[in-house]
């Protein structure tokens, strides 16, 4: 059993996956390939990583209003992250998840963590997301 971090379930749900973590905000428009799940913002530390099916942890969405649409496209294409973890309430990610539930019955679990807990996340950890907002974090072997 891993360590438990209590977050706030902005959009509740169950998911698990390897963590992809950065302290840089990410715009999905121009930053995320909705057909492959690759992070394509070449200025972003996670550039080149595939976030599809992983637990993506970034502080918040950056910039463009169109992040929501790109994330919705990724859900439709089956290339969205398994869950999103942020360090504040991100309305852009939340909206995409809510509309994904409305349109396709597939919300993306979205959890907000206090900054000090967010800072403990590291790429490669295995994260299980629980509906009450708990993250169960297992260190890589």
């Amino acid at each position: 059993m891993g360590r438990v971090i209590q977050g706030t379930p902005i959009v509740p749900g169950t998911a698990s996956g390897a963590a992809l973590v950065s302290d840089e905000p990410l715009s999905f428009w121009g930053g995320y390939d909705q057909t492959t799940g690759e992070i394509i913002d070449r200025r972003h530390p996670l550039s080149g990583q595939i976030a599809a099916g992983q637990v993506l942890a970034v502080p918040c969405a950056r910039g463009s209003s169109t992040t929501t649409s790109v994330l919705l496209e990724a859900v439709r294409a089956g290339k969205a992250p398994a869950a999103l973890v942020t360090d504040s309430v991100d309305r852009f990610f939340a909206l995409a998840s809510i509309v994904a539930e409305e349109m396709y019955g597939k919300p993306i679990p979205l959890i907000a963590l206090p900054s000090e807990d967010f800072a403990q996340l590291q790429s490669g950890q295995w994260i299980q997301v629980e509906p009450d907002g708990r993250l169960i974090v297992t260190e890589p072997v």
């Binding site: 910039g63 209003s65 929501t68 496209e73 939340a94 809510i98 349109m103």
Partner: protein, 421 residues
Amino acid sequence: MTLTLSSEDRAQLAGERGPANRMAMSILVRMAEISGAQTLMDITAAHIDSTIYTGEATMEFAERLASLGAKVCVPTTLNVSGVDEHNWQKWVVPPEWARNARRQMVAYQSMGAVPTWTCAPYQTELKPSFGQQIAWGESNAICFANTVIGARTERYPDLMDVCAAITGRVPASGLHLTENRAGQVLFELVDVPRRVQQDEEFYPVLGHLLGHIAQERIPVVTGMEVTPEEDQFKALCAASASSGAVALIHLVGVTPEAPTLEAALQGRAPQQTVNVSMTELREARRALTTAVGETVDMVVLGSPHFSHAEFQKLAPLLAGKHRHPNVQFLVTSSRFMSHLAEQSGSLAALHDFGGSVTVDTCVLATPMLPPEINVLMTNSAKYAYYAPGLLNTQVVFGNLEDCVRSAVSGRVSRDNSLWEE
């Protein structure tokens, strides 16, 4: 803190105003809960950015609402779409893309919105007024409305703006409320000469710098000696909403909610103070260019959409000249502005030069550019910011004169005299 809904909100949520209103209101209510709003509030105009076609999901969302009988209940303008409806065949836009993007246009138009197809809705007859509560999408337009007009909109994500237009309601939160409009980061212009502040390049450069540092916070700028023209404001707002998520800027002594520094800060202390001298501006200007060589494949102007005033400024620069055969020259604009330019003769000057116009969309929102275009030159900080990621091109930033000169010679040519040390 819990959300209290009005009886009309509850009627919409219960489906008593039809299934489209039910869907839109249920999305808004969940967003209001997430935002911590205590109530919803009325808006009296909307601008829908959800028109941008990113694939079948955005099309299906629009068509779902349209098929449920969605109608906007406030005057509503439409942002750029995914295709130049009547001229896409001139470029390399795949027919399937054009077909789907057009289906999405038809869906939004069927809701009763005005088919403006522009990212500069503040340069149409539906420009809002000071203090008006509105729900706008499109980052540059949000910033312009809050900053220059003093209208009030939160930074709405795509897909939420249309829900607001259908229901006439938004969460009472964020920039709709006076207490959330106070400046947060103080930028003091230090020894930035008037001749620099009068130059058109100053505004995209300053905007790029503000966004980069302020991110989602509200900048306050002191030391402005000139009042920018409308298109200079446009460039400032678009730049800061690209490099950051800036939705409101106070220029002390210039913008409507900043008669004084104290008013702009609402009497509070700034979170951070930043000195902006020519050194910082030079650095921001350099950061807008990613290309290293002298080649340029295409000049592209008009992000946000070129206004009639900009067409009129461009026309005399083009007179008697022709673009180099290796350099394409494109202006992106709205149907309305290009029609005005046609009537005033400015469009003829562009065509004689060998340039062309794309309306309804822009190079970032439609896959129109042929693969041999590797280096773009532009006077738009927004194009300069997004082109490397979205189009996989390099960019050169320059002013309008630089862009024309480079298009004629076929080599990058920039006048740096104002910026040299």
